[in-house]
């Protein structure tokens, strides 16, 4: 077995153990920080995109498409003005239902504050989403690593709420963790999203969702039927009458324009509704109902196009249809582009600083190592050989630093993963390597080799006889 240049370089590094270790450590910390940023950023972007999967369109009030997507998908910002319940019916069993696989209505506008002290409301409020059980039964919220669609699941002991039980609710995983509420507990939504509104009636929690990594982890889901029965959630008699008249006129105009689906594509109001005590109560009349938005999963690839045309091109329509994927992609392009550039610049800076660290470390050691280099030259090492040994040292430090940094970074991620999942519902797979991370290692090694040329050239120029006699 020969003493390879790797072995000689390794021995040289060990000889200057503390300096080498500190250089590698500083590099590893830089790389680890970069890895954390890259991984968290990639996961955030992936999950942000994933949140809008599982359905093709969102139908909601007219206004900004971005506002509609942000309020419906990410529970951010003000919801748009609601649309009549009849718009939902058109998608479920009306003229638009022919191309619809499933339609899930959303009523937004209430919030939930887990703080028990009503005098001191917290800043951490969660949106209340009134919907139908179809959201969890028929919509997939993303795909796993193999591309297989994932459905919502409930934690042990929990279940979906029932259509005919008005006051049942389901909690997202983060809300459950933050509030401490569990199946069987009750809570009262607050009217409005500011948190300053009055408390509504109590809902009973019947299920807690497993973590999905989507914005729904930070939301509370209540039965739409119960929502309508809450104070200030029904239209006045006058408004309902006016709306009924308008709907009747429109229906007369649109009669036979399209063939409705054979079976309803969404849940309709139950004939009998039960309250908390299982006493029958009357559902709110459809004329008095509104929905904030409707998630629409189409039955064919052409469906989104057809609905888009029918809804958006009709000037009489009070609603709009938005493809969330397109809006999210456009949003990500606007935000992600610059962030990616910043990340790239940061990566380059870290690699540069690390490479300079290697240069300083090795170059500073050159004067005290001239003698050792001269000894190797006296033993027959050529100038190129000693140069290669110094370059190997630079490459070794960079490899140790870069790989150590990758490991360290992913250990940080592993340590932070449970906290991030509980706090933000963000799932981090600590073992997953981002392609950008993998670029750091060869980039660092190449640059270390490049900066190593300077001390290597100094070794190349070593005067053997003079260095052996003690001169420099």
């Amino acid at each position: 077995m020969a003493l390879s240049f790797w072995r000689i370089a390794w021995n040289n590094l060990k000889q200057r153990g503390l300096a080498s270790a500190l250089t590698a450590l500083s590099m590893a910390l830089g790389v680890a920080a970069m890895c954390c940023v890259i991984v968290v950023y990639a996961v955030a972007v992936r999950q942000f995109s994933q949140d809008a999967q599982g359905y093709h369109l969102i139908v909601g009030g007219k206004g900004g498409a971005l506002q509609l997507v942000l309020s419906t998908v990410y529970h951010l910002g003000q919801p748009l003005y609601p649309i009549p319940y009849s718009e939902y019916r058109r998608l479920v069993d009306g003229d638009l239902s022919g191309v619809v696989e499933v339609a899930v209505p959303y009523c937004l506008g209430d919030s939930f504050d887990p703080t028990t002290d009503p005098e001191n409301p917290s800043d951490r409020r969660y949106r209340v989403v009134a919907t139908t059980p179809d959201l969890f039964d028929k919509i997939e919220y993303g795909t796993d690593e193999r591309g297989v669609p994932i459905r919502y699941t409930f934690r042990a002991g929990g279940r979906n709420f029932r259509t005919d039980h008005a006051y049942e609710a389901v909690l997202g995983s983060v809300v459950a963790a933050q509030s401490g509420l569990k199946v069987g507990d009750t809570f009262s939504p607050t009217h409005g999203i500011s948190g300053e509104g009055e408390k509504h009636e109590e809902f009973t929690i019947v299920g807690v969702l497993e973590t999905t990594g989507t914005a729904n982890d930070r939301a509370v889901f209540i039965n739409l039927e119960g929502f309508y029965l809450l104070e200030k959630h029904a239209l006045s008699d006058a408004m309902a009458a006016e709306r009924e008249a308008r709907i009747a006129a429109t229906e007369a105009l649109e009669k036979n324009r399209a063939t409705p689906a054979a079976t309803p594509r969404g849940l309709l109001p139950p004939e009998v509704l039960y309250d908390q005590n299982d006493q029958p109560i009357e559902p709110l009349a459809e004329a008095k109902r509104e929905v904030t938005s409707v998630l629409v999963l189409c039955s064919s690839d052409l469906g989104p196009l057809i609905l888009n045309t029918k809804i958006n091109k009709d000037p009489n329509q009070s609603s709009q249809a938005v493809a969330p994927a397109g809006v999210v992609t456009s949003l990500l392009e606007k935000i992600v582009g610059p962030i990616q550039l910043v990340l790239l610049v940061l990566t380059i800076l870290i690699v540069l600083v690390a490479a300079i660290g290697i240069l300083v470390s090795i170059y500073n050691s050159m004067s005290e190592r001239k003698h050792d280099i001269a000894v190797m030259r006296a033993l027959g090492a050529s100038r190129v050989s000693v140069m290669l040994i110094i370059l190997t040292e630079a490459v070794l430090i960079s490899l140790i630093g870069a790989l150590g940094g990758l490991v360290l970074g992913h250990l940080f991620i592993a340590a932070a993963a449970p906290y991030l999942e509980a706090e933000a519902g963000v799932r981090l797979a600590f073992w997953r390597l981002d392609p950008l991370e993998l670029m750091i290692v060869p980039a660092l090694v190449a640059l270390a080799g490049l900066v190593g040329l300077l001390p290597a050239f100094s070794a190349y120029r070593t005067d053997v006889a003079r260095s052996l006699s003690g001169g420099q």
Binding site: M1, A2, L3, R7, I8, N11, N12, K14, Q15, H371, D372, V375, M376, R377, A378, L379, G380, A381, S382, R383, V384, S385, V464, A465, L468, S469
Partner: protein, 240 residues
């Protein structure tokens, strides 16, 4: 085996002139012969060895080792030749501090371009009495032991010529003889020619063939005569 003819070496000095160091008309060492060159410090002994080893270049002349005139080889070829055919024992041992005894010896084989023979390295360390200290670093060895490692390193490639530069100068008197005995016996066994330079009469007295540097090097001889003349003039001025 070693034949040095008309070797001249000088160093550039500030001001543009050159200071002659070596002027060796002829120096020959036969195969397995052991030659000692005696001379005072600073009279060019180390320069002579460095020039023969090809670590520094001669101004003119030839240095033949076997059939090869090392003075005419380009630097890379000289390095390779030195690695394969010349062993060098330094006054200050010059072991690498980060390497163990066995690694220091194997380092001598690393640059030959052929396979390293660990068994040979271990065998040599065994023969110099350090078989039990293979994995010790120089800092854990006594100076005598360090020089023994250096001897093993110099001989590990089975050189034809061993150059020894004051090999006992940094060793306490008690261990000096051990090193000389070791060098002589190993060179005899391995049939290696040895050129040893020293200023020590005790060392040189043990060898059959001893040359004064002044007899070999005209520069040293001239310097010696000038010094003698100067001393004589001074004496006459003081005692007319």
């Amino acid at each position: 085996m070693l034949l040095v003819e008309n070797l001249r070496k000088s160093y550039r000095v500030p001001g543009g002139g050159r200071l002659p160091i070596l002027d060796v008309p002829r120096l020959a060492v036969d195969r397995a012969e052991q030659l000692v060159i005696r001379g005072q410090s600073g009279c060019g002994k180390t320069t002579l060895l460095n020039t023969i080893a090809g670590m520094t270049t001669a101004d003119e002349g030839q240095i033949r080792i076997g059939d090869v005139d090392i003075a005419r080889l380009p630097e890379a070829a000289r390095d390779r030749f030195r690695a394969r055919h010349i062993g060098y024992v330094f006054q200050t041992f010059n072991l690498l501090p980060g390497f163990t005894a066995i690694e220091n010896v194997m380092l001598g084989m690393t640059f030959t371009g052929s396979r390293c023979d660990r068994v040979r390295a271990e065998d040599l360390l065994e023969r110099v009495g350090l078989g039990h200290r293979l994995r010790h670093k120089p800092s854990a060895l006594s100076v005598g032991e360090q020089q023994r490692v250096a001897v093993a390193r110099a001989l590990v490639n089975k050189p034809v010529l061993l150059l020894a530069d004051e090999p006992t100068a940094n060793i306490d008197p008690g261990h000096q003889q051990q090193i000389i005995d070791l060098l002589r016996s190993v060179c005899e066994t391995e049939r290696v020619a040895m050129l040893l330079v020293t200023h020590s009469p005790e060392v040189s007295s043990q060898f059959d063939r001893v040359e004064q540097l002044e007899a070999v090097n005209r520069v040293a001889s001239k310097a010696l005569h000038e010094a003698a003349n100067e001393s004589s003039r001074t004496a006459q001025e003081q005692w007319p």
